[in-house]
Amino acid sequence: MTTESYYGRSIVKEPVWKSEIPLYFWTGGIAGASAVLHGVARLTGNEALAKRALYIGAVADVASPLLLVKDLGRPERFLNMFRMFKVTSPMSVGSWILLVSGGASSTAAALELLGVLAPVRRAAEIASFAAGPPLATYTGALVANTSIPVWSEARDQLPWLFGASATATAGAAAAVVTPARFAGPARRAAVAGAVAEGVIMREMRRRLGFVGEVYDQGAAGRHARIARACTTLGAGLLALAGRRPVAAQTGGLLMLAGGLALRFSVFRAGFQSARDPRYTVVPQKERLRARESG
């Protein structure tokens, strides 16, 4: 599709975020879904899995704000994120979610490690459990709430895609470190997340039409292919041979790599989508034409 442009220059700006941001989408997803895995494992008395999911979640939860602060233009002003709560800004809402989640899961993990203050630990676990699902999914809303065509037009799928990938990676991480006889739920969550991710990705591509072609091109395309290969292979290993430690660990690590590649693919797709003015102009012209013809 061709269209007129100003010397081929982009209309919307490319994001100014660096690699810390897709890394955070990955760690935040692992943290959020691990908190849920931990909570349900506790409730069902699977202490071996509960403990490990708690530690994984806490590590990911502590890494997340460090990555975000690192990406700021003015890192020393990170506390300005908490000057207000703004429902019109997914980044504001997300900062508060991460504050609750990170504070709660690291507190719970530390108390678990020390074996003290059980009532406080339980309260922290409940808070972490509650913050988990929104932490794992809001990042989809964060990128969708922009003027980048490939993100904005995928607003019905991105929170689901990120939620599915979070489930897959959290399950995979737990499957790597948990003995097989306790890791059944983690394996099943990982495989289910991987299947859901594949279905949602396909639906997203279908709905995006030509705007989605960036997922076949350049860095976004490369990362998408790596993500698909790693996640499929890893999930296959977990599903078919997940009771064997070597297979569980290899499959889990492959899925973790796949989840990271998926976040990088979505991230890079945004840059590529912003760079070419056609992706901004063509859908808007179609919208205008549709409005004019009634």
Partner: protein, 294 residues
Amino acid sequence: MSTASYGREAKPRVGFFTDTTVCIGCKACEVACKEWNVIPADGLDWTGESYDNTSQLDANTWRHVAFIEQRKPLRVDADGTDTDGQPEPLRWLMESDVCKHCTHAGCLDACPTGALFRTEFGTVVVQEDVCNGCGYCVPACPFGVIDKRHLPPSPQDAPLALPLLGTKEDGRVWKCTLCYDRLKDGHEPACAKACPTDSIQFGELDELRERAQQRLEKLEGEGWNGARLYGEDPDDGVGGFGAFFLLLDEPEVYGLPPDPVVPTRHLAGLWRTTALAAAGLLAGVALAFAGGAE
């Protein structure tokens, strides 16, 4: 948009009407803006794109004059026939672009810190002492106006290094303030003051809209090819621009989006999707425990 919270300090909404039909491409607006606002130099690049060497609005260019050379007649009759009387049609379009100061501003909605705010004049301004450089406003803007001021990369910018607090000189976002400081003292913005042809007209928005309508009718009567107003409609996707334009071709020819929509317009639905995805994640992980621990 509302300035109601200012109470008795609220002022009538002001803005720009940029009439590109009388722009002579002198760039006095670019220079006056740079001088008044003490904007740093951003290199001297010869683009070869007509007389345009600043290329786009960004952190260091708050007025940008676009130059378009076209094989199109300047005047046509009602059937679209060339009435210029030239052997070959030729026209040279010039347009001084600027921040639109949207009624529903994507940058302002996205800002998590409250650094971006609505002034008592109805304009949109960044408080540079609050901005922490999160960069969310950059892809939120449907016009690609606001941008982070980049400094040359330093070794500290290596990915994955832990945050080095307070070592960066800038890293904040910048854009047109509609000369907030000048408005406060009852002066018009520097670009409008410097414009020798009144292509840039400053004033109360209601009055500017009336004036623009009359100007359009006059140009249509004289058979100007492609004359149209852009951004004057309060019912458009951003609720009307505070700084709108009279153009002679499709917006994308000038590097402007044909049908800009503020991302926040879809945010209620996006939050619903996110809540559903979060619930889906919770249900999915819980179901993974159905088959027992192994």
